[in-house]
C-alpha cells in the first residue's frame, strides 16, 4: 500500500465513518431538540463580513481539522428553520427523516443521467412523478422529471412550450427563425418566469403582463386584450402561465378560464404550482387549483408544500412525450444506442446531466411517514393563515393586505401613534428589529399600497400562540 493509498483508506474507512457519523447524529439530534423547543434566537444575526471571517478558507494541507467542532459552529450560526418562530420565506422546516435520505443520496451518489447510474433513483423518480400526476388529476400519459428548483422547473416547461407552440423549430433554428415570442402571465408572477424568458432570448417583451384583480389574481377577462397587445407588438404568444399561488401574496389564479382561453387560442397552459400545487393534497383546499388537470405542464416544489429540504422540483407534462422536447440533442458517450429515447435516461429531459437522488427523500418519507401527515400539513397551514388573518383583522392596529388563500399572508402594523405616511418605513424597521434580535424570522414585500410584512406558515411547528406573540412583539418594537 502506497502512502497515498493509506491516506485514501483512512478517508474512506468505514469504522472512522461509523464513529464520526454517530457523533454527528447526536449533535444533530440535540440541535433539533433545541430548535423545536424554541431555545435561543431564530436567526443569530451577524453581518456578512463577520461570517466571512468566521468561516475563512485557510485549509490545512494535512488532516488536522475537527469535524465535530466545525459542525457545531455551523449549527449555531445558521438560520434555525425548525424554530417555531421561523415564519419567513417559502422554505420549509424539513421533516428530519428527509435529511437522512439526503445522506444516503450523497453517499451513494446515484445521480442518474443514465439509468445505469441510478437504477433505484430512476425508478423512484418515475413513481413519485406518477403519484404526483395522479394527485393533480393529470392523465396516464403524464410524465416528467425532478429538477433543481422551481426556477429551473419553469425554464424546463417553457422550453417545451417554445418547441410546441412557436410555429418554428426554435431549438435548432434559433430565435431568428421566427418572430419574437411571448408568454402571458399575471403581473404578479415570480421573477423566475421573467428570468426564464430572458434566458431564452425573449427579452423584456417575452412576458406580457395580464392585470390582476384586487386579490392579486389574474383577471381572465383581460387575457384577450393582453393577447391582442402582444400580437400588435409583433410577438407570437406561445403560452399562458398561471400561478398557484403567487409568491408575494399566495394568490391562486383562476385556472379553468385560463385553460379555456388556451384551448381557444392554441396556447400552452403552464401552471407554476411551485408553492401551491400541494393544495391538491388537501380535500378542504384543492378547489384552489381546480382546472390544474387541464395544464400542459405543471411545476411543483416538494421542498415547499411537502416538507422536503431543497431542492426537489417536479416538472410534469400532460403529454409525456413533450418532456423530450425541452432538450433534444444526444451525446454519444452517454446515450449510446438509445434510438428510442427511453424515459429511463433522464438527462435527455433535464438541464442537469448528473443529479442527486432527489426522489429518494420524497419516496421514503411518504412511504414511512404516510401521506396523511403531508396532506394534513397543507390543510393545517392554510387554516392557520386564515385564523391569523382573522386575528389581525380584528385588531385595530393591524391590517391584512388581502384575505389569504393559502399559507402566505401579507399584513402590516398600523398603530395610531405612527402617522400613516410612515407605515412603510415602520414595517421595514419592525422586521429588521425582530429579525436581527432573533425573536422571529419573517420577511417583507412591496405591494401597490406599500410595504407589507409577509409570513409563510410553512413550519408545522409554529403554533397560534407563536403568531399571537408575533403581534405582541411587533407592537412592542413599534413603541421603542
Amino acid at each position: 500500500m502506497t502512502d497515498f493509498q493509506a491516506r485514501i483508506a483512512a478517508a474512506y474507512d468505514a469504522d472512522a465513518f461509523r464513529r464520526e457519523s454517530h457523533r454527528l447524529m447526536d449533535t444533530l439530534s440535540d440541535y433539533l431538540a433545541r430548535a423545536t423547543r424554541a431555545e435561543g434566537p431564530v436567526l443569530p444575526w451577524a453581518a456578512p463580513a463577520v461570517n466571512v471571517d468566521r468561516f475563512a478558507a485557510a485549509f490545512p494541507e494535512a488532516p488536522t481539522g475537527d469535524f465535530a467542532d466545525l459542525i457545531t459552529r455551523v449549527l449555531s450560526g445558521s438560520n434555525h428553520l425548525h424554530h417555531p418562530r421561523y415564519v419567513g420565506h417559502q422554505v420549509t422546516a424539513p421533516v428530519p427523516l428527509a435529511a437522512l435520505c439526503d445522506a444516503v443520496s450523497s453517499l451513494l451518489n446515484n445521480g442518474m443521467a443514465v439509468y445505469e447510474m441510478g437504477p433505484v433513483s430512476t425508478a423512484m423518480e418515475r413513481n413519485v412523478l406518477r403519484w404526483m400526476a395522479a394527485r393533480l388529476g393529470l392523465p396516464e400519459t403524464t410524465d416528467g422529471v425532478l429538477t433543481s428548483g422551481g426556477s429551473l422547473g419553469n425554464l424546463t416547461a417553457l422550453l417545451a412550450a417554445r418547441q410546441a407552440k412557436a410555429g418554428y423549430d426554435a431549438w435548432n433554428g434559433g430565435a431568428h427563425a421566427g418572430p419574437p415570442l411571448t408568454v402571458l402571465t399575471a403581473q404578479t408572477t415570480h421573477y423566475s418566469l421573467a428570468r426564464a424568458t430572458r434566458v431564452m432570448g425573449f427579452g423584456e417583451g417575452g412576458v406580457t403582463p395580464v392585470p390582476v384583480d384586487e386579490h392579486f389574481r389574474l383577471r381572465p377577462e383581460a387575457l384577450d386584450a393582453a393577447l391582442e397587445s402582444a400580437t400588435r407588438a409583433g410577438r407570437k404568444p406561445i403560452a399562458v402561465v398561471a400561478n398557484a399561488g403567487s409568491t408575494a401574496t399566495g394568490a391562486f389564479d383562476p385556472l379553468e378560464p385560463v385553460a379555456d382561453f388556451c384551448e381557444r387560442h392554441d396556447l400552452w397552459f403552464h401552471v407554476d404550482g411551485a408553492h401551491g400545487a400541494s393544495a391538491v393534497l388537501s380535500p378542504a383546499h384543492r378547489h384552489l387549483v381546480r382546472g390544474i388537470d387541464r395544464a400542459d405542464s405543471v411545476v411543483w416544489d416538494a421542498h415547499k408544500g411537502l416538507l422536503m429540504p431543497a431542492l426537489v422540483t417536479a416538472v410534469l407534462f400532460r403529454d409525456g412525450a413533450r418532456s423530450f422536447e425541452s432538450f433534444s440533442q444526444e451525446a454519444s458517450y452517454i446515450f449510446h444506442g438509445d434510438a428510442e429515447r427511453p424515459w429511463s435516461d433522464v438527462a435527455l429531459r433535464t438541464l442537469e446531466c448528473t443529479k442527486e437522488m432527489m426522489a429518494l427523500k420524497v419516496y421514503a418519507c411518504l412511504a414511512v411517514l404516510g401521506t396523511r401527515l403531508f396532506s394534513d400539513a397543507v390543510t393545517e397551514s392554510y387554516e392557520q393563515a386564515h385564523r391569523f388573518a382573522q386575528r389581525l383583522s380584528a385588531a385595530s392596529d393591524f391590517e391584512v393586505a388581502v384575505p389569504p388563500e393559502c399559507n402566505i399572508l401579507c399584513f402590516r402594523h398600523t398603530p395610531a401613534h405612527v402617522p400613516a405616511e410612515q407605515w412603510d418605513t415602520l414595517q421595514t424597521k419592525l422586521r429588521e428589529r425582530l429579525v436581527t434580535r432573533g425573536d422571529f424570522y419573517l420577511v417583507q414585500t412591496k405591494l401597490p399600497r406599500g410595504v407589507y410584512l409577509r409570513v409563510t406558515l410553512i413550519n408545522p411547528l409554529t403554533t397560534d400562540a407563536d403568531l399571537d406573540a408575533l403581534m405582541d412583539a411587533l407592537r412592542a418594537a413599534a413603541l421603542r
Copy 2:
C-alpha cells in the same frame, strides 16, 4: 395539543430522529465497508421496469412503513460507486464525510437565495470560491457562485458572455435586438454547451465547431477560419469555449493560444473545466491548464475532481461584477432594499433561487481532511491512467485511442480471433457483459475511428490490480 400537532411532534421528534439516525449510520457504515472491500457486484443489474415494480408508489395513509428496510433495499439495488471496480462515468465515489455534510445541509435547509436564509453557507460559498479562484491563479477581482451542475454552470457563464459581448442588450432587448450569436468551440465539446446555446435561442448555428487535432484538442490555428465562417454565415461570435478536459476523451484544449485569440478579437474566453480544472491542484499536472488564469469565466465541478457527491459546480468570473449580468432583474419581496446588489444575496447571480448548502461539504472536507488528499487524488488518478494506458499499449490485443492526458481513457479490445470489422460490435457486447454481470462498471463512447470502451479513474479506491483484472475480464468475455 391537537391530533395533527401530535403527529407533527412525532415526525419531528428529536429522540426518534436520534434512534433512526444511529440505525441508519450503522447500515451506511456496513454498506461502505462491503463496497470498499469489493464485495458483490458493482451494479446489481435489473431492467428499468423491474425497479419500477420494486419501488412502486403505493404509499400508506398512516405511518406504517419501515425506513430501515427501505434503505436496505435502496442500498442493495444501487450502483456501488465505492466498489473499486467502478471505473465508469465522471461521477466520483464521494468521500464519506461529504455525505454527512449533506445531511447537515438538508436538516438546516439554509439554502441562501438571500443572505439571511443561509448566513454560514453564504460565507462558506464565498470563501470556497475564493480558494478555488486562487488555485486557478485568477485575480482578486474574481467572484462567482456555486450552482447545480456543470450544464447549469456553462449556461450561467454563457449568459454573462452574451450580455458582455453581444453588442446589444440581449437580456432586456431579446435575441431579435441584434444578429444571431455564436460560440466557437472544439467539435468534441460536451453536449451541455450546445444545449446552453440552444436554450438561449442561438439554434444549431449557435455553436461554431473548431476542428481538433489527432489528440482531440482544439486546433488554435483553425480559430481564424471558424471565426470567418461564422461571420460569413451572419453570426456574431461572442466567445470561445475551451475544454479542460473534454468529456469523451479527456483532451485538454491549449488555453494560451485561445486566450490570445480572444484578446485579439474581443471575445469572451470561457473554460469548461468541469472535469479538468482540478488539475490545478496537482503540481505534476497543472501545466495542462496553463492559461486558465486568463479566462473570463471558468466552470469547475467539485463533484468530479474533488471527490464530492453531486451537485456542486463553481462558476467563476475573473471580473466578479460580471456575475451579476447572467441574471439581472429584481424581485421586491426577496431582494428588498439592495440597490447596491450585494454579493451576499446569491440568487441575484444563480438560476436557482433557493439552493442547498453546497459549499458546506467542500469547505468541511478541505478543512477536516486537508488539501493534500485532494491534490494527491488528482495526481494519482492521472498517473494511474498513464500506467493503464502503457499496459494496454504493451498488450497486442488492446489499443488505446489516444494517450490519456488526465484520468479519462478510451481503449478497445482487439483480439486476433475477432475480425477488425466486428470490433465496434465487440466493445458494446463486452461492456454489456461486464456491466450486467456486475464485474465492472465502465462505459463506451463513439470516436471517429469507431466504438471504444471508456474508463474514468475517478474512484481513488481502484488499484492497478483492478485494472489488470479488467483486461483479463474483457479477454475472457470476448472468448465466450
